[in-house]
Subunit: 387 residues, 2 copies
């Protein structure tokens, strides 16, 4: 297998984008990523699109052909990949495999979701859970994650304030990210006083409904310097599955798929979790950010809340988590998230993250979760080719 | 890149399967394919699922995790791939790439659709066309293909009877396939007298709404004899895109994506179209079967109708087309079709096709179309590893 490098990244503004259609968003991100890679569109060999539910949000399937036409990239192969909110991470992974295998040399992975064109996004989002055993019984995503939060509080003494502190961190970072949906700072008090959604979680514990797209261009590592002075190298690309239904799990305070995929990724990259400088973790709800920093091995199980409270995941601390603002503040257009994470880590490792730049960031990780952890994709990226 | 072989295949019965759920169907096909490969489930490394619209047909996205759980295959990576009715062909292609690259050694590609759980399947199917420029204007798939048929009749003098003859051939073959949705023979007269759907196409020109699943197991060619005495070798796996919207094409009597993907496949395999013994082509409507045998290079453009009429695509003729019954008679559960095609060609090349066996079939082709040709996947398979 060939080594693979990221040579171009882009993200649209995330938010309620009334003036842009589904196809506009993904083409904007794709074109900008190709330009960032100093390539011409007609040299691209293939494209992968991460999208959770074009069907339920905008009545559109056959996303690959739609984008092939609207981007002018036809007749190249364009393939849509879906794994709920991990769709973007899996699209990136397929692009990496396509290059590693030697099938293609220049591949774009793009992610997109247009969620604000429906009156109520909840039923579409619920299609990421088990339709027969969860969604049809009236369980929504906030309530699934609320159960996980309650259990974590019960088992480990995690406090309501510690959960809120994750959202506060996200907004602190998001305030420095001009592409973030929310660029305002918030406080623990404000989270605790926000509208209850599913106890113990309030509105400010929950990532928003968002429109947006992001894209990444990959090529063989040996060619990377043709396109950029600062290629970022893919050290590992892993994926694990777990039950789609929360009730089928042994524990609901650990995402086994995060543990499986990240341990495999550390092995492949030959590093330990404490070598990660910057990490974009999947905080669709504040509890999931907390579970992530434990399950990724940054902190012991049960100690995540304390770590947040003590500032150990702030910028330039032990591990700089969600410098982009995370799903909570950057926004969470489902299929785009995994690629927005890869774009942020790339900017950090290049030294291009402007006001939110982490000093001397050399190794970064992205953690992209589908549903309540039925799918997890992990990528480890680095500034140096050899670690 | 490593050579890849097919060592296991399976297909559920296609039809209106009221007693089986979405998840039951794909697990039945997957388990049977793994057994056909003489493997144990816990040795499988990864799985790809082809599915067009779990979201619109059964309210379920996150198909990979659903199948990972229900098949007991978690924590292995399970990835859903979508390209409308070409979803199955693309899932097979990703599985082949995953093995060719060296990422995995034993990979299952499965395809599934459960279409009969909705009152009207038409709006879901229409999501394969351009939602904004076609579906919302009231254009349905039968009407899109009807325009192509009319134009072909105008340009090349193709007759109504010649189109009907394609459906008659499908039913003739389907009558010998115990897994086909329709196992009755029909006549040209019966097609011409069936209910009009979109002129010139009648009910019996149109593939049905179907439930079903199919699966294929692939491994490195060098390992294939560990699992079976009759491995079938993948000589080429290609994919091309075209505009999703029919009105954007230069011509509506040629699927450019079929031409592009098949020419590339013939080049990679080092063969000419006339070396294909058996071909499963994507006849969602009789006109598309006719376009396929022209665009694949079996017959000159404009001569397809005559070829059908003269029996040149019947079993044991110049090229044996749709020995399974094709989409028209075997049935067309959208995401499953590409894998059912691969299963049929595998059975033919193994010599396992029972009453519908073609004499001495050595090289086969599958042709899987998304929408009106926005995506096409081609696979060339063979009995001998070296051609």
């Amino acid at each position: 297998m060939r080594d693979v490098a990221i040579v171009g990244v882009a993200q649209t503004k995330f938010g309620e984008l009334w003036n842009a259609s589904f196809r506009d968003l993904v083409v904007e991100a794709g074109v900008n990523a190709i330009q960032d890679a100093n390539m011409s569109g007609d040299s691209i060999d293939a494209m992968y699109i991460g999208n959770m539910s074009g069907g339920l949000f905008v009545g559109q399937e056959h996303i690959g052909a739609l984008i092939a036409e609207h981007s002018g990239l036809a007749p190249i192969p364009v393939t849509r990949v879906e794994a709920a909110c991990a769709s973007g991470g899996l699209a990136l992974r397929q692009a990496i495999m396509a290059v590693a295998s030697g099938f293609y040399d220049k591949v774009v992975a793009a992610g997109v979701e247009k969620m604000t064109d429906v009156v109520d996004a909840t039923p579409a989002i619920a299609a990421a859970s088990d339709q027969e055993w969860e969604a049809q019984q009236g369980v929504t995503f906030p309530s699934l994650y609320a159960m996980m939060a309650r259990r974590h509080m019960y088992e480990y003494g995690t406090t309501r304030e510690q959960l809120a502190a994750f959202a506060v961190l996200d907004h602190e970072n998001g305030s420095l990210n001009p592409k973030a949906q929310f660029q305002n700072k918030i406080t623990v008090e404000k989270v605790l006083n926000s509208t209850p959604v599913a106890k113990p979680m309030n509105l400010l514990d929950c990532s928003p409904v968002s429109d947006g797209a992001a894209a990444v261009v990959v090529c063989p590592a040996e060619d990377a310097h043709k396109y950029t002075d600062t290629p970022i190298y893919v050290q590992a690309s892993t994926q694990a599955s777990d039950t789609i239904a929360l009730h089928s799990r042994k524990s609901i305070t650990t995402l086994e798929a995060t543990v499986n995929a990240s341990r495999k990724a550390y092995d492949i990259a030959g590093i330990k979790p404490n070598q990660i400088d910057v990490a974009e973790v999947h905080d669709c709800f504040s509890i999931n950010g907390l579970l992530a920093i434990e399950d990724l091995g940054f902190f012991e199980k049960g100690k995540g809340g304390q770590a947040i409270e003590e500032g150990l995941i702030a910028r330039n601390s032990e591990v700089s988590v969600n410098t982009s603002g995370g799903l909570k503040a950057r926004g969470h257009p489902l299929g785009a998230t995994g690629l927005a994470q890869a774009a942020e880590v790339t900017w950090q490792l290049r030294g291009d993250a402007d006001k939110r730049q982490v000093d001397g960031a050399e190794i970064g990780l992205t953690h992209n979760v589908g549903g309540t952890g039925g799918t997890v994709a992990i990528h480890i990226l680095s500034r140096d080719q050899k670690l």
